[in-house]
Every structure is written in structure tokens, then in C-alpha cells.
Symmetry: C2
Subunit: 267 residues, 2 copies
DNA sequence: AAAACAGTTTCATTATTTGAAACATGGTTT
DNA sequence: AAACCATGTTTCAAATAATGAAACTGTTTT
């Protein structure tokens, strides 16, 4: 019930891959086994197969597994082809240098925030986000802003997937608080993070919308309570909106090019 | 031997994933089918499964597939746990700012060069490399340098996998030229790229060796013929060697820590 | 020496994958 | 409007691959 795995053998193998990645450190076979739904020989063969395929890397000295290099290779292709990063890069770099703060570019993956690019301020601040990293949607500026603009029939299933873990005194505490916040964001047109994920970290976030109103992602300007406040960030909204619009326009031009030339598939 | 596929259903599915990634652009089902060894329904199901699993992304408007966002998520874990990048970062940043040139950090993936990190010079130069990108081993500084120091029984199988495509007038033209070059690099202790991959781009590369002499990767200082030459790069060898040694030491300390404290995974 | 443990292999059973063929869908031509 | 065609989707019996209890190996602990 809980596990929507399905997808036969391939789905199960990928579940194992996720499990290894989730450990966040080199992991032994027995550690995997201890929390795996699969019996020993089954898990063993999955791990063997994934290692053969370089989706996992095995360290013979320490007898541990980590996610493999083939993933880095594949992800580079994903990042180039399936994210807004290559298109948005010049725009968010310009934005960051104009406002002098860190800028994030994020997209929704499942119901969570995937940071696909990040341009640091001249004086960078230590914070959770990092390109490639996943974060919660219900307590981040980009996350809430994207949720506010997705198709209404998908909102509830996304809300259901939020953990509503309390990170700070300002973290929204449940579905109802989030629904109200999303209404606010929809009417206002952009969202804030009021130290909801990390103490001292605040941001304004703007959705990247297609002409038809579909959300492609969001960008945010992030700062700290030490050197800025919400009013100061809100002052950047015109620039933020301009940037989001430019990115949106470029996406559209990229998706429907003149297509006068067709690339041959030749070997 | 030739086909390393094997690995049953999972191996085949990953083969499809590679194929999509290799296209480098959104691809239609029929395009995949045209160059797939699998019959139509089989390929169809693989693509469905991979899309379900978010290893592929489907664009319903254009009816095309691209590598999926789950890969970016997984690769972030791979990059953090299975590459030298997190350990080497501070060292290569220091090196880059000291020499004022672009610095690469690379590892071998299969028999090819995987760029796992890159620090740009103050005045960056357009070039092929990019973190996450794969490149040829036989015609890059880092590639040749790593090949020069891998276990001798693995060298030939790696050489056999090189394409020996001629990129520039300086590209090594075949296995024998490469073997000789590797001998030179072994005796000298470091390698050069003499415009072998891209015209005007040159570099010096230093291996990152463990105490037992195993290659973990390589770093390089890259420049252009416009603003430097090989002698100028060679002058940076002491700094390069120092950096490589520092990284190597950190790898060792990281691999065999006192292990007194265990890091919690908490958010 | 015995017991405990982590990792690996075996093999009959079971479930999944396979692919030829048929079907659906949308667009184009006659 | 009928015939055609290219793409994408479904069916179903046969072929294949995955499964897991149990047994085995090699290493460490008692």
C-alpha cells in the first residue's frame, strides 16, 4: 500500500538504489539487509547487478557501497535536457549580481523541491540548499510558490506528501496553514520564506509560469535576517518578476524553435 | 565479453536509459525504437517503467522523452559520496586562485574521463569540460595521466576502449603513440595536454595517488596558447603536486577516521 | 573447538518478462 | 467519405528470468 513501487524488477532495483543513496554514507550489505523488504539473496543480486552497472560503487577495502559514477554521467544529461538551468543560467546570474544576494532556481520533483541551480552572493552564507539537492516544499519560498500555482487537482496529493516537520518556530504546522498560505501567494503573485526552514534565512520567491499558466519552476532571492528583512527583499520583486518573465520567454522560444533544420540521426 | 549488458531486466532497462541520455535532446519513442535492439512492446514497457520511476521525463505536448529528475537527485548523492569533489574542493579552489587559471578535478569512469569538479579562472575560457561531463581519456591531460598510473593489467583494456578520434593536428593517433606517452608520463610524474583535444587549450595534469600508489583521480591546470605555454604551465608543477598530495592525505584521513563521532542524518 | 556472523551459492518453484500479432488513434491522401 | 499510413498501445500464450529457503564458505568472536 505505502510502497507504490510496482514496475516489476526494475522498480525494485531502483528502490535499492534509493536506499543506498538515502544512507548518505558508505553502507554495508548487512546494513541494507536490515532495513530492506527483500530477502537476503534477492537483495544480494540487486546490489550485484547495480554494481556491475556502475549505478553503485563497491569499495573492496571497507566492503561498502555508495551511489555509482554512472549516475553522475546520466544526471548531467538530465540536468542539461530536463531542467531549466541551462536556459535560466544567464538570467539568474544577472539577477544575483544586481541584487547582491544568493539566487536559487528550483523545480518540483514529485512533491518536493529540487534545487537545480544556485548562484552565490558575493558573500555567500552557509545554508542547506545546493544544486542537485532535494528540500521540503511546505517550508521553503520556492516550494510554497510552486505549490501555489500547480493544477488544483494536484495540490492535495502534494500536500499529503509533506512531512510538516517543525524546523523552526516559524514553520507552518499543517495542511490547513499551508492551504491558507498558498491562497495568499496566489493572490499576491509571489511567496516568502519567513525563517520557516532555517533560522535566520529568509527569501522571496517568484514562480516561472508558461503562457498557459503552467508552473515550470521558481526562482528566489535569499538573504539573512542579519543583513536584510522581508521588506528589503520585497523591494526586489520587480527585478525578480522581470527575471522570471525572461526565463519563461526563453523556455517558450526553446520549446518551439523555428525548427527549419532537422538533425539527422546518423551514426 | 563484448556485451557487458547481462544483468537481466535491470541491465536492459538501464541500456534504454543510456540511449535516451545519449541523444542529447528530447527524443520520440519511434526514434528510440529505430535504433533499439528491443522489439516494440518491450521497449515500450521499459520506457513506461522508467517514466513511472521518474528516471525519464515525458513531455506530453511534444511526445518526447528526456532523462528524468530522479537522476539529478541520485547523482547528488553519488557526487557527495563517491567522488573526490567534496574533499578536494577547498584545495582546488586555493590552487585556482593562486595560479589564476581554471582547475579541473577528474576521475576515471569505465575508461573515460569524468569531470567531477571545476573551478574557473577569474577570466574563464570557453571549453568542453564541465562538472558531470564525460570526456575522452587518450587526448586529455587528466585522462592520460590517470591511465599512466592505473594497474598495468587494466591499461590495455582501457586503451582498447579509446576511440582515437582525431580532434586536432596534435591528437595522438593510436594505441602505440598512447603507450609511449604513458611511459613518458610515468617517468616524469605528470602529464600535458598539447592541444590534443581542443585547439588552443593546453594543460598540466597531476595524478592523485594513494599511499599504496593507486590512482584516485587527477587534477589539472588549464590555460590557452594565447596567454600561456607549456613551460609556463610546467612552472606550476610544484604547486600542483602539493595540492595533489594534500588531497591524497585528506582522502586517507577521511577513509580511516578515528570514527569517534557518528554524523546524524537529521534535517 | 564451538558458535556466531557476514557474505555467497544452489536449485526447484513461481512470477515476470517477452514479442508476434492485433488493435487504437490521429493525420493524410485518394 | 473511404482508404491509407504512421505512430503508439494492448493482448496473451510461451519462454525466461526472478525468487527465497536452505545450505555453504570464510572470517571473527567466545
Amino acid at each position: 500500500m505505502a510502497h507504490v513501487t510496482g514496475d516489476g524488477t526494475v522498480g525494485k532495483a531502483l528502490e535499492v538504489l534509493d536506499q543506498v543513496a538515502a544512507f548518505g554514507r558508505p553502507v554495508r550489505f548487512s546494513e541494507l539487509l536490515a532495513q530492506s523488504p527483500f530477502p537476503k539473496p534477492t537483495l544480494y543480486r540487486f546490489v550485484q547487478t547495480l554494481t556491475n552497472q556502475r549505478m553503485l560503487a563497491y569499495d573492496p577495502d571497507r566492503q561498502t557501497y555508495t551511489p555509482g559514477l554512472r549516475l553522475v554521467r546520466l544526471a548531467h544529461a538530465a540536468w542539461e535536457q530536463s531542467t531549466l538551468a541551462p536556459i535560466a543560467r544567464p538570467h539568474i546570474e544577472a539577477l544575483s549580481s544586481q541584487v547582491g544576494e544568493t539566487v536559487h532556481l528550483a523545480q518540483l520533483d514529485h512533491a518536493h523541491v529540487l534545487y537545480v541551480d544556485k548562484v552565490n552572493a558575493a558573500q555567500p552564507v552557509e545554508m542547506y540548499s545546493q544544486a542537485g539537492k532535494i528540500g521540503p516544499a511546505y517550508c521553503t519560498g520556492v516550494g510554497k510558490t510552486m505549490l501555489a500555482f500547480i493544477a488544483s487537482d494536484r495540490v492535495e496529493e502534494c500536500i499529503a506528501q509533506q512531512s510538516f516537520h517543525i524546523f523552526t518556530p516559524h514553520t507552518l504546522t499543517g495542511p490547513e496553514a499551508l492551504r491558507e498560505e498558498l491562497r495568499d501567494i496566489r493572490t499576491r503573485g509571489y511567496g516568502f520564506d519567513r525563517e520557516e526552514h532555517e533560522p535566520g534565512i529568509i527569501c522571496v520567491a517568484m514562480p516561472i509560469l508558461s503562457e498557459s499558466g503552467r508552473v515550470h519552476g521558481a526562482i528566489s532571492v535569499t538573504s539573512t535576517t542579519e543583513r536584510n528583512d522581508l521588506a528589503g527583499l520585497e523591494a526586489q520583486v520587480p527585478l525578480l518578476r522581470e527575471t522570471a518573465t525572461s526565463i519563461s520567454r526563453d523556455i517558450h522560444n526553446w520549446s518551439f524553435p523555428d525548427h527549419d533544420k532537422k538533425q539527422a540521426t546518423g551514426g
